[in-house]
């Protein structure tokens, strides 16, 4: 009976001739799915942009900034300026070899860069090659700085996308020279960065070259420790303590001095953002489940109403020979068919809308690239169809049990 071609024809007939009923139940399901997917998608979009704010830089890093001491210690006065040098770098690397991937150097400068007639002030970072990984710098053209640039103290420069736009316009900057800080620098690469315009108005040069130009000193302004990414948050805190202890020992800084050396662990920000994201995803799940329940209640109401409305028809059908099972099959087939078609329509429309939204809500509402996992969308649709069928089945079974004389009695 259920997969009989003839019974389907009967169903289509009924659907075609009861347009309002069909529309009502179909509309409820379609709207339910539509709202569910859009809300869920937007929630995911919110999470996306949230994630973006925190992933501009690599997350498994500890930054070390030297500063001035505030407590006299071991015969040294306070207000002493702490400095990192190339030999510190070498020793740190050896000492923590097992726990870290790399220690990256970053000395920051700010000066004018010129190309032909165009000139602008930019921040220039004198770095080691590992800095690319620490900043998640993306190379668009050419290459990043390499070890050769460092050892040979090459006057090479990697410029930001916006620097290239400012100074070179349409011209290809690779192999060209820019002038800054009294020297000519050969452009070896162009990069982009998720961090925004400010990051892309930056230039990278080898730190060794910059040290040589700066009166041949060996000072290091900032070190970025990239630790093993398999370390969890607590392990990274231990490493942070070990680093602090080691450096304070070496540089004669009082263990009680909060200054002298400043340490910042990006793992902390990561941990905060992870907590926030999990709260956000709980809220999103609630919204999703809520809309789904509302949809289920909606379709249940419609189905109860539909079966009630058909009580007399069911009585007639039974009087002329319909078995209870054929009545249940009829109601179920009809409701499943309608919910499937309209659920599918709602699904498609919602996905089209989500796609259409794309990044357009990013600036105002911080929603970027809203999406829903296909499996979630399909599950939601299946759940709604299932409950639609269940909601139809219960009153249908009741109606099928009614004696035809009772169903036919009210005239």
């Amino acid at each position: 009976m259920l997969f009989n071609k003839d019974s389907w024809k009967e169903i289509f007939d009924t659907i075609k001739k009861n347009k309002l009923r069909t529309f009502l139940s179909g509309f409820t399901v379609a709207i339910g799915i539509l709202i569910f997917i859009i809300l869920f998608g937007l929630g995911n979009g919110l999470q996306n942009s949230f994630g973006k704010f925190f992933t501009d830089d690599k997350v498994n890093t500890i930054r070390l900034f030297p500063s001035s001491t505030t407590i006299p210690y071991r015969g040294y006065e306070s207000q002493r300026r702490i400095k990192f040098t190339n030999s510190d770098l070498k020793d740190f690397k050896e000492k923590f070899n097992s726990k870290i991937e790399d220690i990256v150097v970053r000395n920051t400068f700010y000066f004018q860069i010129k190309h032909k007639e165009k000139a602008n002030n930019y921040s220039v970072r004198a770095v080691s090659p590992g800095h690319q990984e620490a900043e998640l710098t993306i190379i668009m053209k050419g290459r990043y700085l390499n070890e050769g640039d460092i050892t040979n103290r090459k006057k090479h420069v990697v410029i930001g996308r916006l620097v290239a736009e400012d100074l070179f316009k349409e011209e290809d900057p690779i192999g060209k020279y820019v002038f800054g800080s009294g020297h000519s620098w050969k452009v070896v690469g162009v990069f982009q960065d998720e961090g925004g315009d400010r990051e892309e108005r930056t230039l990278y040069v080898p730190y060794s070259t910059m040290q040589k130009i700066q009166k041949n000193n060996d000072e290091i302004g900032q070190m970025i420790v990239i630790y093993d990414k398999n370390m969890n948050y607590d392990q990274s805190l231990i490493l942070e303590k070990e680093l602090e202890f080691y450096i304070k020992e070496r540089k004669f800084i009082s263990p009680d001095d909060n200054r002298g050396i400043y340490i910042s662990n990006t793992g902390e920000a990561q941990e905060d953002s992870r907590k926030f994201a999990s709260v956000l995803s709980i809220i999103i799940s609630f919204i999703g489940i809520g809309t789904l329940i509302a949809g289920i209640i909606g379709i249940s109401n419609i189905m109860v109403f539909v079966v009630k409305e058909r009580t007399k028809e069911i009585g007639i059908r039974k009087a002329i020979g319909a078995t209870p099972n054929s009545i249940i099959a009829m109601v179920l087939q009809e409701s499943i068919f309608i919910t499937m078609i309209s659920g599918y329509l709602g699904l498609i429309v919602a996905l089209i809308i989500l796609n259409g939204i794309g990044d357009s809500l990013m600036e105002k509402y911080f929603i970027s690239n809203p999406y829903i996992e296909t499996s979630n969308a399909i599950w939601a649709t299946i759940i709604l169809i299932f409950f639609g069928a269940l909601a139809g089945y219960i009153p249908a079974r009741k109606a099928a049990k009614i004696k035809p004389i009772i169903a036919l009695r009210d005239k």
Partner: protein, 225 residues
């Protein structure tokens, strides 16, 4: 065709029970046209419902075409109704979103007859009741008399052994009533066993046999000409 012996039926009304049929004995042969008369409360509708397998009885026996009809489950009752009986109701009971032809074809659908054959058979019966030009009309577009003819055609389409008509002219004016009764008589002449429940003497007088019920028992059972 129909054999009923010592049939009893009670309805529970609150704590009391109402004894509606008190030992009915009845034998109806093939080809008879029988009127069942009685005032309201006499038990005539209950008797028709039991004969029509729309209701169960408490004690006694009921045989239809040699088959014992007793304590049927819904599925079996539905099958027997489809196979043995055709119903005509006072309020027509056509399905309002189906055309005249589709209404007539519906019992055939439940017999599992193919769509093409259903259409063909339904159309034959539509012609038989004189409404061949009205096949695509919905019940709302038909007059009372026309609706009842469609209902009769629907009842006949499944080729039942017995046609049961519950006040078939109750909702019709006297002229239309006569036309409908003429149709019923014509069908009877072709050999169909028909039971008509009515409270109108004129209608009853058009039948071959008149059974009168009062307070759950058969008062008179008269054969007319």
């Amino acid at each position: 065709m129909i054999e009923i012996q010592e049939l009893n039926k009670s309805y529970a009304i609150g704590k009391n029970s109402l004894h509606v049929l008190k030992g009915i004995n009845l034998k109806i042969n093939e080809g008879e046209l029988v009127a069942i008369m009685g005032s309201s409360g006499s038990g005539k509708s209950t008797l028709l419902n039991i004969i029509g397998m729309l209701d169960n009885y408490d004690s006694g026996s009921y045989h239809l075409d040699g088959v014992t009809i007793k304590d049927l489950d819904e599925t079996k009752a539905a099958k027997y109704r489809n196979q043995f009986l055709g119903f005509v109701f006072q309020s027509f009971n056509l399905i309002n979103y189906k055309t005249a032809l589709e209404n007539i074809a519906l019992p055939l659908y439940y017999q599992g007859i193919s769509r093409n054959d259903r259409q063909k058979i339904a159309f034959e019966y539509l012609e038989k009741v004189g409404l061949g030009d009205w096949s695509e009309h919905l019940p709302s577009e038909l007059s009372g008399g026309q609706k009842q003819r469609i209902a009769i055609a629907r009842a006949l389409a499944s080729q039942p052994k017995v046609l049961l008509a519950d006040e078939p002219t109750g909702a019709l004016d006297s002229k239309t009533s006569e036309e409908v009764m003429a149709l019923i008589k014509k069908i009877n002449k072709e050999g169909k066993t028909i039971l008509v429940v009515t409270h109108e003497n004129e209608i009853a007088n058009m039948c071959n046999r008149i059974i009168t019920l009062k307070d759950g028992v058969i008062m008179t059972d008269i054969k007319t000409s």
